[in-house]
């Protein structure tokens, strides 16, 4: 009996050792922002088409997931639509990870409603009040007799954090906000829910033919109550900063990127990559961003 017990324990020990040995990896792993996942997927596919030796796997999950992934070294590039928190940078340094940031595209965060909703523009303050739960009925904003039904993202989303900081004024989201898995799910819900309002990356507004999705109304947003309102699809307004909630979309790598990662990032932020960024509905980066990227690549 004793012998059998020893044998049994030895077998368990052996199994554990085999399971502990991690498999080696070679592919470039990209993980993070759900707003960016489709864009980066397409960039990676086109890049791999041109460079048959390259292997890139792109995953979503939210900016927070990507950042945690880079800190724990389970991915090589983190996509993120918000900046890193100080806590995350500290944690990265503690683990010997020194993140370098690259801006690969610019997004106009879009506020969308169902097309049955007659409201066309909102001020920043109104959007904030909606999401803080202070405006419960569309009647308070225009001629529409419906309760407000809020759609948002989950707290691991960079867009969630960006909204909270820049639109809600660092206040809590209304607890009635339905927290969806991604941009696409928000769009699907808004198309069905006549009283709904949601926020998504500008690239998600378009259908296959590059037109705004049918059934969707994209609201114009103004900075101040008497200011002019602009659409997130308006390139001039994004470039000039007149659209109040545009934001850079980042990628982070650990330290000075190795040759393969650097080549991919350089291509993404170069003319070919940026043409795809614009084709997918996002906006190209400015020369200032470009100069900063080039500095971080060296």
């Amino acid at each position: 009996m004793k012998k059998t017990l020893i044998v049994a324990l030895a077998v368990i020990g052996l199994l554990a050792t085999v399971l502990m040995a991690a498999p080696a990896k070679k592919m470039i792993q990209v993980k993070g922002s759900d707003t960016m996942v489709n864009l980066v997927q397409i960039l990676a596919e086109e890049y791999m088409g041109k460079n048959p030796g390259a292997a890139i796997a792109v995953l979503g999950g939210g900016s927070g997931t990507g950042i945690t992934g880079l800190i724990n070294q389970t991915c090589d590039i983190a996509d993120h639509s918000r900046e890193w928190r100080q806590k995350e940078i500290d944690q990265a340094w503690e683990k010997g990870v020194s993140p370098r940031f690259f801006i690969v595209a610019v997004d106009g965060l879009s506020i969308v409603v169902n097309e049955k909703n007659p409201i066309e523009k909102l001020t920043m303050a109104q959007v904030g009040a909606l999401y803080r739960g202070e405006i419960k009925s569309w009647k308070m904003l225009g001629p529409y007799e419906k309760p407000v039904s809020l759609y948002g993202r989950q707290s691991n989303s960079g867009t969630y954090t960006f909204m909270q900081e820049f639109v809600l004024g660092n206040k809590n989201f209304s607890t009635d906000t339905k927290e969806m898995n991604g941009n696409a799910q928000i769009i699907e819900s808004i198309l069905q829910d006549e009283s709904g309002v949601g926020y998504v990356g500008v690239g998600y507004l378009y259908d296959k033919d590059g037109k705004i999705r049918k059934g969707l109304r994209v609201l114009n947003i103004s900075k101040t109550p008497d200011g002019e309102a602009f659409a997130p699809t308006d390139k001039a307004a994004i470039d000039s900063g007149k659209y109040p909630i545009s934001r850079p979309l980042f990628q982070a790598a650990n330290g000075k990127p190795n040759a393969e990662i650097a080549a991919f990032i350089a291509w993404e932020t170069g003319p070919e990559g940026q043409a795809i960024v614009e084709r997918e509905g996002f906006f190209a980066i400015s020369p200032v961003h470009k100069a900063q990227n080039d500095k971080n690549l060296k």
Binding site: L9, G62, S155, E179, E194
Partner: protein, 297 residues
């Protein structure tokens, strides 16, 4: 002599293998519970247990004030699970009774495998059905604008727990000794009376076990409710409001939470509460089973 040593060796090797399997199962269970406890306890250095269990607000990443109350999630979990049982238990027992006593054997040969295949549908697919099919239908029926609410979750979980309930109930109805059936009919009872006054009570322990197993499936299910219930953090106002269950909350937040923070420990504490809840359900099922078995003997 040689042959005998070989047989002995073989026998002890087989015994060792089964012992390994047994120990492994126990070790895994103890390991899971220990890890859960070890990782959950530090949460209560910073959160009072009463606040954790009785406060309604959960907002660990709030820029104003981090809040760690899980009452809304507990209530949501119970609502969705309770709703699912309310739908699945009558239907499940009905189908089981039909299959065991009413259906022609050919129908049973076809229907039973189909019911069992229902169990093999991945939860993501069921959740997807909730978004594209049940959600819009519920929105239309109740005029709510959207169908991402507790009812949707209940319907989906009912579908997911039906195969368990039907299959095990039907087995236990079938294992009622035929003498019960014959005696009841011989005494002049109708088939309906026989089925519901004799067979169902005789098979009750199995049926209750089936329902409890179905409940176990529903309470721990994550992906489906995550996709279909809307995940609003508010305390549920009713079955038509969007709810966030404990499982969904863990799934949403564990991926990004910074390790070894209060938030991280609190998520494990939710896991521990969930573990205790399922443990109580299983214990209750066990006690009920034993009680009925004693009465039968």
């Amino acid at each position: 002599m040689k042959k005998r040593t070989w047989t002995n060796l073989k026998e002890s090797a087989i015994r060792a293998f089964f012992l390994t399997c047994g120990i492994l199962a126990v070790l895994v269970l103890i390991g899971i519970f220990a890890t859960l406890l070890y990782t959950a306890v530090p949460a209560f250095k910073e959160i009072r247990l009463s606040e954790f269990l009785l406060k309604k607000n959960w907002d660990p990443t709030s820029p104003e004030k981090a809040e760690f109350g899980i009452l809304s999630m507990i209530v949501s979990t119970l609502m969705v699970t309770g709703g699912a049982l309310l739908l699945a238990v009558p239907i499940g027992i009905g189908v089981a009774a039909y299959l065991s006593d009413v259906a022609h054997w050919r129908v049973r040969e076809i229907v039973k495998p189909i019911v069992e295949i229902l169990a093999a549908i991945p939860s993501v697919v069921v959740g997807f059905l909730g978004i594209v099919l049940f959600g819009p239908a519920i929105a239309k029926i109740f005029h709510t604008g959207n169908g991402l609410n507790a009812i949707n979750g209940s319907v989906l979980l009912a579908i997911m727990s039906l195969p368990t309930i039907i299959s095990i109930s039907e087995d236990s109805l079938n294992s009622v000794p035929p003498a019960y059936n014959e005696a009841s009919l011989a005494l002049g009872a109708s088939r309906w009376q026989t089925l519901f006054r004799v067979k169902v009570p005789a098979a009750l322990s199995g049926i209750i076990a089936a329902c409890m197993l179905g409940m176990g499936r529903a309470i721990g299910e994550t992906m489906t409710v995550l996709m279909a219930t809307g995940n609003a953090r508010a305390f549920p106002h009713g079955f038509l409001s969007s709810v966030r269950t404990m499982t969904a909350n863990i799934a949403i937040e564990l991926g990004e939470v910074p390790y070894y923070t209060t938030h991280y420990y609190a998520l494990f504490a939710i896991g521990l509460v969930l573990f205790i809840m399922t443990f109580i359900v299983n214990m209750a099922a066990d006690i009920i089973l034993h009680k009925y078995q004693e009465r039968e003997q």
